[in-house]
């Protein structure tokens, strides 16, 4: 029966974009030299923004706490460089809105040695202390959503986590950060996994890796110690294999009920990068001040996998990679399916930014939109079994309330429908518009 389980090991629907990973998958992670200007937005994660604890003119050391959590669903923030705080104020963010941020100017003569604390004796910490430590370290989901990691760790009473699932699918095309981390730092990943598993009291750790990374699977297998309850599950190469609910379906063949969380099916899902960040903090005392970023795409001269201090402007990252090729038209932060375009090269690298992808004319040309011919390709692409064709039609007619009957809020905006649409209808955009209207609409006063 186990053999048949393997055949079923998948989620249904989804799409197969060309994965374009050959540009960077064999390039070792390099470190970007320190620059001059750093901008640390206080709201780099989902939830409440952090609160600055430094003021303008103050000297900060690399790794020093510069902002404390502003609430429970919020994390600490640490200085990515040694230098001087220039301003604490509002800066325009990626989404165009002004948001508070701390601007730091690096000290060109500093050694940029991390002001590390010694390793933390995580075994002696109680669960509450552990959660607080993760929160103060500023660790968030590094896969792209930037959901504070400690929130996932704090399970309500009566809920038991049985499986720790580590997400190494990296299903977004172009991105190779998790792949390189698994190849280059398997020990850190497995140590971090053990810390998490023991603190959660989970029975086993499962690492899900897409089958297009056989070298990563091989290396991880070599590093697992016989007494560690860790298994590697190779997953079919399909987008969005790395969406946490899809991965749970693939690995455990369980559907997380709509509106519920992985913990409701006794699973805790974390990205490879998050686990490595946990290991870095508890074993080396290094808070989250830098992350691995894939710089790739047809518009980049020398694609690379880079360790980038948070807050580094994209301009410096791109410059390190040889600059933009002529004809570059768009820069996406994150993956090409779910990432967000940035309007200016001054945008800083954030905690949740796994890639800087530069695209040219060819990918960004306005595509001629045709009428929907109800071909049903979007229905067969949607991993959540929604009816994107219907949702798009309703959204075009601005019938947003009716869209609730078609479960518009179950949509995770993975973009499969838009990828699959032969009529080039911006389905995801239409759905986002509707969701935005429904959530931000002001009800008329009665």
């Amino acid at each position: 029966m186990e053999a048949f389980r393997f055949l079923r090991r998948n989620f249904e629907h989804g799409v197969h974009p060309a994965h374009h990973k050959q540009q960077t998958e064999n390039l070792p992670i390099q470190r970007v030299p320190f620059g001059k200007d750093y901008l640390m937005p206080l709201g780099q994660h989902i939830g409440v923004p952090a609160q600055a604890v430094v003021t303008a003119g103050e000297k900060v050391r690399r790794g020093q706490l510069i902002a404390k959590p502003g609430g429970f669903v919020s994390t600490g923030l640490h200085s990515p460089v040694t230098g001087t705080v220039k301003t604490v104020g509002d800066f325009r963010g990626v989404d165009g809105r002004f948001a508070p941020a701390i601007e730091i100017e690096a000290d060109p003569f500093a050694t940029q040695q991390v002001d590390v604390n010694a390793a933390i004796d995580w075994r002696s910490l109680s669960l509450e202390e552990f959660i607080e430590a993760v929160q103060m370290a500023g660790i968030v989901g590094m896969g792209g959503a930037a959901f504070p990691a400690h929130v996932k760790l704090s399970v309500p009473d009566g809920v038991k986590i049985r499986h720790l699932l580590i997400n190494g699918a990296e299903c977004e095309p172009f991105l190779t950060t998790d792949h390189r981390l698994m190849l280059e730092r398997p020990e850190a990943l497995l140590e971090g996994a053990e810390i998490m598993r023991q603190k959660l009291g989970a029975e086993e750790t499962v690492i899900g890796v897409e089958m297009n990374k056989p070298d990563a699977i091989e290396i991880l297998k070599q590093h697992i110690k016989p007494d560690q309850p860790i298994r590697i599950v190779p997953l079919k190469v399909k987008y969005p294999q790395g969406a946490e609910k899809m991965m749970i379906k693939s690995v455990f063949d369980v559907e997380v009920p709509a509106g519920q969380l992985p913990r409701d099916v006794e699973v805790n899902v974390n990205n490879v990068g998050t686990i490595v960040a946990i290991a870095d903090y508890f074993l080396r005392g290094m808070p989250l001040i830098e992350r691995v970023v894939t710089v790739a795409g047809p518009g980049v001269t020398y694609p690379a996998n880079l360790i980038v201090p948070l807050g580094t402007p994209v301009r410096d990252v791109v410059k390190f990679c040889g600059g933009l090729k002529p004809g570059s038209r768009e820069i996406i932060m994150g993956g090409p399916m779910m990432g967000r375009p940035i309007a200016s090269l001054d945008a800083p690298i954030l905690k949740g930014c796994s890639g800087v992808l530069v695209f040219t004319e060819e990918q960004t040309a306005r595509r001629k939109e045709y009428p929907c011919i109800s071909c049903g390709r979007c229905l067969e692409a949607c991993p959540y079994f929604l009816n994107p064709s219907r949702l798009a039609r309703l959204s075009k007619s601005r019938m947003f309330d009716e869209m609730k009957d078609y479960h518009v809020f179950d949509c995770v905006e993975c973009g499969c429908c838009t990828f699959a649409c032969p009529s080039n209808i911006p389905i995801v955009q239409l759905i986002r518009t509707a969701k935005d209207d429904l959530t931000h609409r002001k009800e008329p006063e009665a």
Binding site: E255, P341, P371, I373, S374, G376, T418, P422, N424
Partner: protein, 339 residues
């Protein structure tokens, strides 16, 4: 922002897309119909060219005439007008007067598509609507079948083709019944080999079952058609006629005869699968296909007409919005399994 920075676009993700576009899908159907169309030229000679040509002309003319002036070139370029013309032409008898074929093409697009709001909004398959219009308006011409040209060569033209508009149609020359007509009214069964290769009388495209299947396989490989629809139609017809055969093997057609005769394959592969007028949900596709299959057999066996594919598909077209409404897919995490 510095002066030398490139002007960055903010085109939203996903930036990647598969290569298929709607016009490409339309053209794929045309390519898939190519073998069967060539076969119709082979069997019916120049007449086939005339009928298909006038149908396409009528369809494209209507498309051009009624299209928004600014969108004119675009709506012509998406190939859906040509496709409707070809599909309609393939359902017409080879001896039909050309002006009727033209009128059919014109009506198919204008009443079948444009009036509903253009591509993607029509309730009924335009080609079949055009054919239904012709059948209702010119019942005699539409049911006068001629034999294949046989030895008389490619360049012979059926005399009916050249009839002048609105004049009394002179139907002389040889006529011949279709296999379904012979089955229904004379109890003569045409051998299967002739049906499969298409050397029988009938409308232009409903002659060669094998070539139609070939095109269907091409479409399936290109993922241009919902395989559930033709499969469910054919299976339903096979089961239905096999069940009838249990009662009276003499009187009722055999399953294979049912599948290969008449317009069943043409309808099942190319017309019932028209994405606009068939259900969008997978479950709905099965229901739609089974419905078409059952209606075809009911009309053929118990109805007054020898052939029922057209009406079967049109009737199920009308039911499509309803089917769609009741077959919405179960959303992930909302099924019974997990609740």
């Amino acid at each position: 922002m510095k002066k030398r920075d490139p002007d960055l676009l903010l085109f939203p993700a996903p930036l990647l897309q598969q290569g298929m576009t709607t016009p490409k899908a339309m053209r794929d159907v045309l390519y898939a119909l190519l073998p069967a169309t060539l076969a119709s030229l082979w069997f019916f000679g120049l007449s086939a060219v005339l009928i298909l040509g006038t149908c396409i002309f009528g369809a494209v003319l209507a498309e051009w005439l009624f299209a928004d002036r600014r969108a004119r070139s675009e709506s012509l370029r998406d190939a859906s007008g040509v496709l409707t013309g070809v599909l309609l032409g393939l359902t017409l008898p080879p001896g039909l007067p050309m002006w009727m074929a033209f009128l059919g093409g014109f009506v198919a697009i204008s009443l079948g598509k444009v009036i509903w709001g253009g591509l993607g909004h029509n309730l009924f398959n335009p080609a079949l609507l055009g054919r239904a219009f012709l059948l209702a308006t010119f019942p005699i011409a539409m049911t006068t079948w001629v034999p294949t040209t046989g030895d008389s060569g490619f360049f012979s033209i059926y005399p009916g083709n050249l009839a002048l508009p609105f004049m009394q149609v002179q139907i002389d020359g040889v006529t011949s019944a279709t296999p379904l007509g012979m089955m229904k009214f004379e109890q003569v069964v045409t051998p299967l080999s002739e049906l499969a290769f298409g050397n029988v009388s009938g409308s232009l495209g409903e002659t060669s079952g094998l070539l139609l299947l070939l095109g269907g396989i091409y479409l399936w490989m290109r993922r241009d058609l919902d395989w559930r629809i033709p499969v469910s139609i054919v299976l339903t017809v096979i089961i239905f006629s096999a069940a009838l055969g249990l009662f009276n093997a003499e009187r009722f057609p055999t399953p294979l005869f049912s599948v290969f005769s008449g317009g069943l394959l043409l309808g099942a592969i190319y017309m019932a699968t028209d994405p606009v007028t068939s259900p969008v949900t997978p479950k709905g596709a099965w229901i739609f296909g089974i419905g078409v299959g059952v209606l075809v057999m009911l009309i053929r066996v118990f109805g007054g007409l020898p052939e029922g594919v057209m009406y079967a598909i049109l009737l199920m077209n009308a039911a499509t919005p309803l089917i769609d409404r009741y077959t919405q897919p179960t959303v992930f995490g909302r099924g019974d399994k997990s609740s």
